[in-house]
């Protein structure tokens, strides 16, 4: 039995040594983290969110963020027009982040048009959200909340929920990150609108199989992304739509709303009591505005522009308070915002009723 004991001790010692060598990066940076002046509405108490967090498997930074992104020209990108990308445009600079790279890293600590931001993506909830990061960087905590990635800032190691942008634990608990609008679209749409865009390169500093998505596929749609079902426990669930139905949602400090993307594509303009959404065909995305019961008359001109108060505007330039719009799987939006306003389904074939639904 002695050899067994020796082997067991040796295996344990080796494991401890390897664990000790597994160092964590990113200490000693400026702690200034830009925050929103007022947080988004929450449908649950912050402690309830924190308590509901669970491990998704990897340790903090086990899914490595890209901290020194390298970009290539659009002409050098090996992308199909139907491939999904996350886009961000700021101060004349456009960056595209291919979904097939983002699925392996989930965060890019980038700088675009002079703005330091963290481009974050959660494959399980299909959410791409950008947050100002100041001089610090963000990492993937390995924790999940409602299947959604939980981020942490490398300076204070506070944990943040991506979808709510809210601090869950640590120094920034209950604070809300300053969010910027990212676009979840296809390479074909993005490169047509921004032909001079730079594209995140596969030279990420990490080695991964970037031709493969471990969860499924968007081009064509398959695997997890089309299966009706979820992997991790949810705080709230509903069978109102298919779990993976894409919705575009927005929130203010008082309310939230979501619009089913396929319905918005068809109708082009939809509204609830406090929110109005318009479809932007050039990027195949939706923009959401706060209307606070003002019920503005917005009509599509059929060419991607909209008429309002006698003026003609692009989808993202209506003279209303524009909110950050987040595309997500329905189950994920509902898990965080079960009291969201939404447009009810048509009651009769051929007649679509736009119903502003009061929160449940």
């Amino acid at each position: 039995m002695r050899w067994f004991h020796r082997l067991a001790v040796a295996v344990t010692a080796l494991s401890l040594a390897v664990y000790g060598l597994a160092t964590q990066a990113g200490q000693g940076e400026d702690p200034t983290l830009p925050l929103a002046e007022s947080g988004y509405v929450l449908d649950d108490a912050i402690d309830d969110y924190a308590d509901f967090m669970m491990s998704g498997g990897p340790p903090p930074d086990g899914i490595p963020a890209i901290d020194d992104p390298v970009f290539i020209e659009a002409s050098e990108a090996d992308l199909d027009p139907g491939d999904k990308v996350i886009g961000f445009y700021h101060e004349g600079e456009a960056h595209a982040y291919p979904q097939l790279i983002m699925v392996h890293h989930e965060i890019v600590n980038d700088r675009v048009g002079g703005l330091n931001l963290a481009v974050t993506y959660c494959p399980l909830t299909a959410t791409a959200q950008g947050f100002e990061r100041g001089e610090t960087t963000f990492g993937v905590s390995g924790q999940l909340l409602n299947s959604n990635v939980v981020l942490f800032d490398r300076e204070t190691r506070s944990y943040f929920s991506q979808i709510t942008a809210r601090g869950l634990r640590g120094e920034y608990q209950d604070e809300t990150l300053a969010e910027v609008n990212l676009i979840w679209t296809t390479w074909g749409h993005w490169s047509s609108k921004y032909p001079d865009t730079k594209v995140l390169s596969e030279d990420t500093g990490h080695l991964r199989n970037y031709s493969r998505d471990p969860y499924g596929s968007y081009n064509p749609l398959g695997g997890y992304y089309e299966q009706d079902g979820t992997m991790f426990p949810l705080m709230h669930s509903s069978d109102r739509h298919h779990t993976k139905e894409m919705v575009v949602g927005a929130r203010t400090s008082e309310a939230s709303a979501y619009f089913v993307m396929s319905d918005l594509v068809r109708d082009e303009v939809q509204s609830t009591d406090r929110f109005l959404a318009v479809y932007a065909p050039d990027l195949d995305t939706g923009y959401i505005y706060s209307i606070d019961d003002s019920a503005p008359q917005v009509t599509s001109r059929g060419d991607g522009t909209y008429e309002m108060d006698g003026g003609i505007f692009e989808a993202d330039e209506l003279p209303l308070e524009k909110l950050v719009s987040v595309e997500a799987f329905f189950f994920a939006w509902h898990a965080f915002y079960p009291e969201s306003e939404y447009v009810a389904a048509p009651t009769r074939v051929g007649e679509r009723v736009r119903l502003a639904v009061e929160p449940a």
Binding site: S15, G56, G62, L207, N209
Partner: protein
């Protein structure tokens, strides 16, 4: 040297048993790397990439680590993570040894009274431990919803496999009579 090690040495003196250990170990190592997605489908052209070797100590899971080299072939990508390969090789060796002694128990019942497949069953947990970013691959395949407890269990599957394989190997070796072994 303990009796168990002497028995093991006697078993490995027979070429057929050595081939069995090497063959089954190699197959298991391959399966382990596929389960960890260090071997996966997809790849555009022939390419060999390397990165900073110190990355090999960065953890991607409870006991899985970063690759430091990548071989891409048309249709296949192989990530070389030294510590994953080391881990896989240790488990593969234990699987091979378990298989060899189980083979003896099956073919030479007089030499080994432990006629069961416990040793092989012990190798399965590590194969289930493959990770797909933030969810075990098996969860994706089965499309099931998992709990916090389930995730905790999943994170110790690889070490659990090592312990189980060691225990079963020891149990079988203790019941094997090296003097009765034959080719």
């Amino acid at each position: 040297m303990s009796k168990s090690l002497a028995t093991l040495a006697a078993i490995l003196r027979i070429p057929l048993h050595r081939r069995l250990v090497a063959g089954s170990g190699a197959v298991y190592l391959l399966l382990f790397m596929v389960a960890l997605q260090d071997i996966s489908r997809g790849g555009r052209s022939l390419q060999f990439l390397t990165t900073d070797w110190t990355r090999m100590f960065e953890r991607t899971g409870t006991v899985t680590f970063e690759p430091i080299a990548q071989l891409t072939l048309p249709g296949l990508t192989i990530l070389l993570s030294p510590l994953n390969i080391l881990m896989g090789a240790v488990i593969a060796l234990l699987v091979g040894l378990n298989l060899a002694v189980t083979y003896i128990a099956f073919r030479q019942p007089r030499a080994c009274s432990f006629n069961r497949s416990t040793g092989i069953l012990a190798s399965f947990p590590a194969l289930l431990a493959g990770s797909a970013c933030c969810a075990p691959a098996i969860v994706l395949i089965l499309g099931i919803q998992v709990s916090s407890l389930f995730m905790t269990v999943f994170q110790v599957l690889i070490p659990a496999s090592v312990v189980l394989l060691l225990v079963t190997l020891k149990l079988i070796l203790d019941r094997t009579k090296p003097e009765l072994l034959h080719q």
